[in-house]
């Protein structure tokens, strides 16, 4: 919905050809999936579990400051691994092909207050199908923010930098509320809906378990280290939340990312769907470690094109995808994390205010608007 459609130079045939080329990339990875990939995810899961165990073990002695620091750092990383490279990707069905019932999208549960099945619905289904379509993809601003000029401004949006910051700190709760579509469901009539109540109950149960574990059981196990352990788990959750929030913001918010109108996806072809994913996502550049800690969501563009390909393959896929961007003269939005985070935040601030009066538009531009 940007004034100038960055895909306007493509013909319908080109878009379908692009779709076929992307399908070919996908088929190649699927044909090559095998033992090495399976070994990879098993290794990551086992490393995560060991790291969490050791960190929690160290935190039993967190009354000693070095133990607190090491344990908290370890637990933060373990939680990030659990949510990102492991949980997010398994819940996408990326590892279902292994037919291992323990590493499967239908059985996995993660260290997060949103139950896996609810998250799968709102994320895999709504967000990934309707990526960046205003009014359909609630990830756009999470229902509390204005992230595009074309969204209507409301005085409520003045506070959005603050809402976004609070959301970042308690991101997992934000996601749970979001998966429940709390905003929509809290009115009197919908509140009573049995289906909603069942889901709300499930979230309640999950929150209880998570809170009990992090803020009661583990601190109690630590005895004299009760308070330091409590502070440590709180910190680890905070770090994980801030980190995941930042990574997620980089996926669709930075400048250069397109959003789409509802009517633009009517009768969308496979090629057009691919194109929307390409234009609606943004990557983060960086080291291998960086990609790993983002759960390879740094390859957001590739992930959105192929959400069910194993995450360890996105790096190699990215090379080919990027070549297609060049070939079709499209902008591949990417940049280092600080730059992308800054860009996303700047947008949050900018759009908290009503649009600036449009400059006097040239007639040519207006024509383009109509054409787009």
């Amino acid at each position: 919905m940007t004034a100038i459609d960055p895909t306007a130079h493509l013909t319908a045939e080109q878009i379908e050809e692009l779709g076929r080329e992307l399908d070919a990339i996908r088929d190649e990875v699927i044909a090559g999936r095998g033992e090495k990939d399976a070994a990879y995810i098993r290794k990551v899961i086992s490393a995560q579990r060991k790291l969490e165990l050791v960190s929690r073990g160290v935190l039993l002695f967190s009354i000693f400051p070095p133990a607190w620091v090491i344990g908290t750092a370890g637990l933060s990383v373990a939680k990030i691994m659990d949510n990102m490279e492991i949980g997010h990707n398994i819940l996408h069905g990326q590892w279902d092909w292994m037919r291992d019932p323990k590493i499967h999208s239908t059985t996995w549960e993660w260290d997060h207050v949103s139950p896996a099945d609810q998250w799968k619905h709102s994320h895999n289904e709504l967000h990934h199908t309707y990526t960046n379509v205003i009014g359909k993809d609630n990830d756009l601003g999470y229902g509390i923010m204005r992230v595009d000029e074309d969204q209507k401004w409301h005085p409520f949006h003045l506070g959005q930098p603050l809402w976004n910051f609070i959301n970042a700190c308690f991101f997992e709760y934000g996601i749970a509320a979001y998966d429940l579509e709390l905003g929509k469901n809290l009115n009197k009539r919908r509140r009573k809906n049995p289906e909603f109540r069942a889901r709300a109950k499930a979230v309640g149960r999950k929150i209880r378990k998570q809170v009990l574990k992090d803020y009661v059981i583990h601190p109690l196990l630590s005895g004299p280290s009760f308070l330091p352990t409590l502070a440590a788990t709180f910190t680890a959750n905070l770090v994980r939340n801030l980190w995941t929030h930042s990574v997620i913001m980089c996926g669709h918010f930075p400048e250069g990312v397109q959003v789409f109108e509802r009517r633009s996806i009517r009768g969308e072809t496979r090629g057009q769907w691919y194109l929307r994913q390409m234009m609606g996502s943004a990557n983060i550049s960086g080291s291998k470690a960086m990609h790993f800690m983002t759960g390879n969501l740094s390859h957001q563009i590739e992930h959105h094109l192929f959400p069910d390909l194993p995450s360890n393959r996105y790096a190699e896929v990215a090379v080919k995808v990027r070549a297609l961007f060049d070939k079709y003269e499209l902008e591949y939005v990417t940049g280092p994390l600080p730059k992308q985070v800054f860009s996303a935040w700047r947008k949050v601030f900018r759009l908290s205010l009503p649009n600036k009066k449009p400059k006097v538009e040239t007639p040519a531009h207006e024509q383009e608007l109509v054409a787009a």
Partner: protein, 351 residues
């Protein structure tokens, strides 16, 4: 409080510590074969038997309840990263002192699991196990005369019996293409030398297929013998007929290795077994649509293969992935995305 109740309390507490994982998820890291774990085994050795058969020595987990001679065990092996389940006869005696069990596997052409086990399996690998099962077993009361009638890898359950229980009068008729294809040949000949077994080898490459009528000449008293037969369907069908015609069908025990015959076609009859509906589907229509049109409540989401909201067990038959053309055959635990899969022949969807 009883100790069991106490233990379950302690376990509940432990679950609170490890949520959302289970304590077993952590214990599996260090001790996958412990008591109480899902049953697994570790491959400890692979001994070649013939050019295309090998015996796999498995240390079963603590939960293994043992087997009866002649039974089979289902194992889950990861081949190219994909877990596949197959059944193999247990070939070790029940009283093997080190507690290991063996299966003997013959690589069949295009057999994913059998070729993997015979040619690529390495000691140290963990596999999944089920408890042994099957009623192709010896009776409690010892028969005085025994006949084993086997062909090819049909010898494997019988080998388990031979190694397990000694009888006074045992005859075996075994068919294999050539002498070097006879699995366990050295051991069989040793038994013969020790006068524990009378053996007739039929080498089908030179002698031709065994004509069941020849039994009269090979084992004149066959009808008086308690017989266990295992081999290809043709042999077993002939044997069953022969024994019935002679009026002694109760003396014959057969074990059929059921090869999964899946005809991957284009479209077919789709059964939704939970709802009991059956409809015809063509090879291009997603099973999600087929089900919905038949009035079956099908879970769905994106309807384009990306959300995994539609995964459903495939209980029988085969389906084709409409995007890649890839065929998926039913096996225990196989789930398919109904929105991008179409019937490739008759199939059964658990909805």
């Amino acid at each position: 409080m009883t100790s069991a109740a106490l233990r379950s309390r302690a376990w509940k507490l432990l679950e609170m510590v490890t949520t959302p994982l289970l304590p077993s998820d952590y214990l599996d890291l260090v001790s996958p074969l412990r008591a109480g774990a899902d049953l697994r085994g570790r491959i400890e050795a692979v001994h070649p038997e013939t050019r295309d058969a090998a015996t796999i020595v498995i240390r079963p987990g603590r939960g293994w309840r043992g087997h009866t001679a002649g039974q089979y065990v289902r194992i889950g092996v990861d081949v190219d990263g994909v877990r596949l389940w197959r059944a193999y006869s247990v070939t070790s005696p029940t009283d093997r002192r080190d507690g290991r069990v063996t299966i003997t596997v013959k690589a069949i052409p295009d057999g994913k699991v059998s070729n993997h086990l015979v040619r690529r399996a390495t000691p140290g690998t963990l596999i999944q196990l089920d408890q042994a099962t099957g009623d192709f077993v010896l009776p409690e009361a010892k028969p005085s005369k025994v006949l084993y009638l086997t062909a090819g890898s049909g010898i494997t359950p019988v080998m388990g019996m031979l190694r397990d229980t000694g009888f006074n009068d045992v005859v075996m008729v075994h068919c294999a293409p050539q002498p070097q294809d006879v699995i366990f040949r050295d051991e069989l000949h040793r038994l013969v030398a020790d006068k524990k077994l009378r053996l007739t080898e039929v080498h089908t490459d030179t002698d031709g297929m065994l004509d069941i009528a020849r039994l009269d000449e090979l084992v004149p008293d066959w009808a008086e013998r308690e017989t266990w037969a295992c081999g290809p369907a043709g042999l077993l069908d002939a044997a069953e007929k022969h024994w019935s015609e002679y009026g002694v069908p109760e003396r014959l025990h057969t074990e059929r290795f059921r090869p999964r015959i899946v005809v991957a076609g284009d479209g077919g009859e789709v059964t939704f077994s939970a709802t009991g509906k059956t409809v015809d589907a063509d090879g291009a229509k997603p099973l999600l649509d087929v089900g919905e049109e038949a009035g079956v409540l099908m879970p769905s989401g994106c309807r384009m293969g990306i959300c995994f909201g539609c995964v459903t067990p495939l209980k029988a038959g085969a389906v084709r992935d409409l995007r890649t053309g890839e065929i998926t055959e039913a096996e225990p635990g196989v789930l398919i995305q109904t929105c991008v899969s179409a019937a490739a022949g008759p199939c059964d969807i658990e909805r």
